[in-house]
């Protein structure tokens, strides 16, 4: 009776051991493969055998964390849906945005611009194919533009100013515009909606009004598989015209919570996180720096954070008050103490990574609280009341500062610091932390604020597009930050001229006026931070937020 029982127990034990071994093997091989390829236990051994020799050499997989769903199923080149980063990976534009706004050839090998700056002729690269093998020609470019360009919702100048789009021959296309506007080329480098999609990507194929079916572009990457709110898998496009990617596959994993992204990096579940893909909180930097398997990559960003003064608030209509607020803010402390040194003190509206911004046209106010107090007194703000708030004709100087925390969590401690610094010079600031919708309502519509924190747009939108949308009247609405006919004329001049020198001169005087009038309170220029695992090689930062890394040069090695 006893012996069979022992044998049975041994059998069970060995079965369990085998099961464990199989699970281990399946778990290991699963890293490189999509989840549905986990095979039954008995093939596990074969997989382990073949993995190191043949497949792993080819199968270079990188896992990247993204904060929101990539939306591969709706990633139409001509629409504003899905992840912008993935747009730029799958689709190419006619031109590409290089360092400090330099426009580089992409699908267009070269281009000519007419004397009056209104006619653009693009010469397309020869022999380019979409990821399904369809050849790229001028008709395909025309098709891509015609799918969205008539939509009145588009505010891009290439859309609103376009008069005609003509195919000259198989590899030449011309665009005729109603005005001269130098950033046309910049707009054509955007991630969307200007990139080129294959006529075979819609149903019925080639119909400009056709329904979008699948994301087929000429980019280095193409969609392989997609699970909503979980992950998107991209593989190298075999027909790609440029430098072939080193990696064979990129897995984009959705991790919405910033802290979880940091933990996933630590555990090795993901290889890269950060930038606009999904921010890494500055508070976690000590943790990352302390982890030998991770490395922190910093690149100076192209945007800046600043505080808008409401020109309808009487107190803020006085130059001395605006100057005093600027002088009272300790920008060095914000960068050093609150941002963990990730960024630099603002020296104007834009950092020098932005086109037309130079060391010589950037001057801003320093940290001089005593001078700030003197300026306030000069503006007629006398003795402080019992709470330390300065008074003018009996009225205390009290301002409300609006901000939001959901998209910019760092704004709250910054606002609290500014609040206490302005209290030092006798200005009472009441903070109002709004949820994003209410915040944008206040910013764009109701103007219910005295001070409001905001930031400039990213890369290709600077400086022209940001100036046009915040320092220039749009349609019926007056300018948001500063309403002044002289400034608006200068901006019009800068964007309208085809002369580089004249344009630079116009931008120089725009920046000079901003300083003289203290049009806003400059705060800080953030750095873009990205964290990568040490096994990732070939890292090179991109020049736009939608191309944070040159994906094609990345590779993965052993830990």
């Amino acid at each position: 009776m006893n012996k069979p029982f022992i044998r049975q127990r041994r059998l069970i034990t060995s079965l369990i051991l085998i099961l464990l071994a199989v699970m281990l093997v399946a778990g290991c091989s699963n890293k490189g493969q999509s989840s549905n390829s986990i095979n039954q236990g008995n093939t596990g051994n074969d997989q382990q055998q073949s993995a190191p020799s043949g497949e792993a050499a080819k199968d270079q997989v990188l896992t990247v964390a993204i904060s929101a769903d990539a939306g591969l199923d709706q990633l139409d080149a001509g629409a504003y849906k899905g992840s912008m980063t993935v747009h730029a990976m799958i689709y190419d534009g006619l031109v590409e945005y290089g360092e400090k706004g330099e426009i580089k050839p992409a699908l267009a090998e070269s281009w000519d611009i007419s004397e009056d700056g209104k006619v653009y002729t693009f010469h397309l690269r020869q022999g380019v194919k979409f990821s399904d093998g369809t050849p790229l020609d001028a008709e395909a470019v025309k098709f891509s533009f015609e799918r969205w360009i008539k939509d009145p919702a588009n505010t891009l100048n290439v859309a609103t100013a376009l008069e005609s789009l003509e195919v000259v021959d198989e590899h030449t296309i011309t665009m005729t515009f109603s005005k001269s506007y130098y950033p046309f080329l910049t707009e054509l480098s955007f991630a969307r909606p200007v990139r080129i999609i294959s006529p075979s990507a819609v149903e019925p194929a080639g119909d400009v009004n056709g329904q979008f079916v699948s994301p087929i572009g000429t980019g280095a990457w193409m969609a392989e598989s997609y699970k909503t709110e979980q992950e998107a898998v991209l593989v190298a496009n075999p027909y790609y015209w440029g430098e072939k990617p080193q990696l064979s596959k990129i897995v984009l994993k959705v991790i919405p919570d910033p802290q979880s992204r940091v933990m996933a990096l630590q555990s090795g579940d993901i290889d890269i996180a950060g930038g606009q893909l999904g921010k890494i909180p500055v508070e976690s930097i000590p943790v990352i720096e302390g982890d030998a398997s991770l490395s922190l990559e910093r690149t100076p960003g192209t945007n800046s954070h600043f505080m808008i003064f409401n020109y309808d608030t009487p107190a803020l209509q006085e130059l001395n008050v605006r100057k005093a607020i600027n002088l009272a803010i300790n920008k060095a402390s914000i960068v050093g103490d609150l941002m963990n040194g990730i960024g630099s003190e603002a020296t104007g509206l834009f950092p020098t990574t932005v086109p037309y911004v130079t060391e010589s046209n950037q001057t801003w106010y320093g940290f001089e609280p005593e001078e700030a107090k003197r300026l306030l007194a000069e503006a007629g703000y006398g003795e402080a009341n019992g709470e330390g708030v300065v008074l003018k004709s009996g009225e205390p100087l009290e301002l409300n500062l609006v901000l939001q925390q959901a998209e910019f969590p760092e704004w709250k401690p910054i606002a609290e610091l500014i609040q206490s610094e302005l209290q030092e010079i006798g200005i009472r600031v009441n903070l109002q932390v709004l949820e994003p919708n209410a915040y944008y309502d206040a910013l764009w519509k109701t103007r219910a604020y005295d001070l409001i924190l905001y930031r400039t747009y990213d890369d290709a939108y600077n400086p022209h597009s940001f100036l046009l949308s915040l320092f220039h009247a749009t349609g019926e609405a007056p300018a948001v930050v500063w309403s002044d006919a002289k400034l608006e004329a200068l901006i019009d001049q800068a964007v309208g001229t085809t002369e580089l020198e004249e344009r630079q001169a116009a931008y120089d005087s725009i920046f000079a006026q901003m300083y003289e009038q203290a049009m806003f309170a400059a705060i800080y220029f953030p750095d873009d931070i990205l964290v990568r695992s040490q096994r990732v090689t070939g890292y090179k930062a991109g020049y736009t937020t939608f191309t944070p890394i040159f994906w094609n040069q990345l590779n993965v090695g052993e830990q």
Partner: protein, 281 residues
């Protein structure tokens, strides 16, 4: 049975001690707090507990202990306001619905049914989101949502008392409605209402902290426990103590009020005993 009773008394005393401690510390905050809870010292940010800062400092170099102590004022003070408002509404409506009955009763109860159909937290979230985030709006939202449950309970008590013999007698003796409602019914509901209220404070404290955590309540730089928790969230790996201290404080405060409330509640055993004695002879 005797043991459980003693245990409850002990627990209630413990609860009362905690509550008393919180009340005292909150009342004497300016004398007890080691530093100014609003004073920012960037050079001391995230420092460890020391003699100057007994619980260390937060990300802006503010004294954590002082902020917790001043936070008592925010939490308790506003909880009491909510409580007073909720009970004044629900007592008057409950008395009205229960005593008047008929169409008035029907009308009030249907409104309550509609409001109770929504989860209360979601409803108060929606109201604060609509009115804009501020402590005042948060209190309005709480009161607007919470009066319903108590009105129902109080109406039930009134209905029960209304049918009792002494009310019949009073009515037969020609006592006015006003006298019956205020002298007989209201006074007889007073004790259960007080018990209910003391049990409620814990929940209110927790909800205020919860909505402030979400950024809908007190606005910075007001020291408030929920806000302190939210502000410390990014430091969960580098300085977990920043989350621990406000978390423990909230727990302790809620525990104190709940224990006290439980102690004040007449024990079920006690009631059963009393009934048995009534029946026995």
């Amino acid at each position: 049975m005797f043991q459980t009773r003693l245990l409850r008394t002990k627990a209630a005393l413990f609860g009362a001690a905690i509550v008393l401690l919180f009340l005292l510390v909150g009342l004497l905050a300016p004398w007890i707090a080691p530093s100014d809870p609003l004073q920012i010292h960037m050079e001391h940010k995230l420092s460890l507990p020391s003699l100057e800062y007994p619980l260390g400092t937060d990300h802006l170099g503010r004294c954590v202990l002082s902020r917790l102590i001043y936070g008592i004022r925010t939490s308790l003070y506003y909880s009491l306001i909510v409580l007073a408002a909720v009970f004044s509404i629900s007592v008057s409506l409950g008395l009205l619905a229960g005593y008047a009955g008929g169409k008035i009763d029907h009308f009030i109860m249907r409104i309550i049914d509609i409001l109770l159909a929504f989860p209360s937290l979601i409803l108060s979230l929606a109201i604060t989101a609509m009115l804009g985030p501020s402590m005042k709006n948060l209190l309005i939202a709480f009161v607007a949502v919470w009066w319903t449950g108590y009105t129902r309970v109080i109406r039930g008590m009134v209905l029960e008392i209304k049918e009792s013999d002494y009310i019949m007698a009073a009515r037969a003796a020609g006592t006015s409605h006003f006298q019956i409602v205020f002298r007989h019914i209201l006074l007889n509901t007073a004790r259960p209402i007080l018990v209910l209220a003391s049990l409620e404070i814990g929940t209110i404290i927790l909800s205020i902290a919860g909505l402030s955590f979400l950024g809908l309540g007190a606005q910075p730089p007001t020291p408030e426990w929920g806000i302190m928790l939210n502000d410390s969230r990014p430091y969960i790996q580098t300085a977990p103590r920043l989350l621990l201290f406000p978390g423990l404080t909230i727990m302790l405060a809620v525990l104190g009020f709940n224990l006290l409330g439980e102690g004040l509640k007449p024990s079920n055993h006690g009631l059963d005993e009393a009934r048995k004695e009534e029946v026995a002879p």
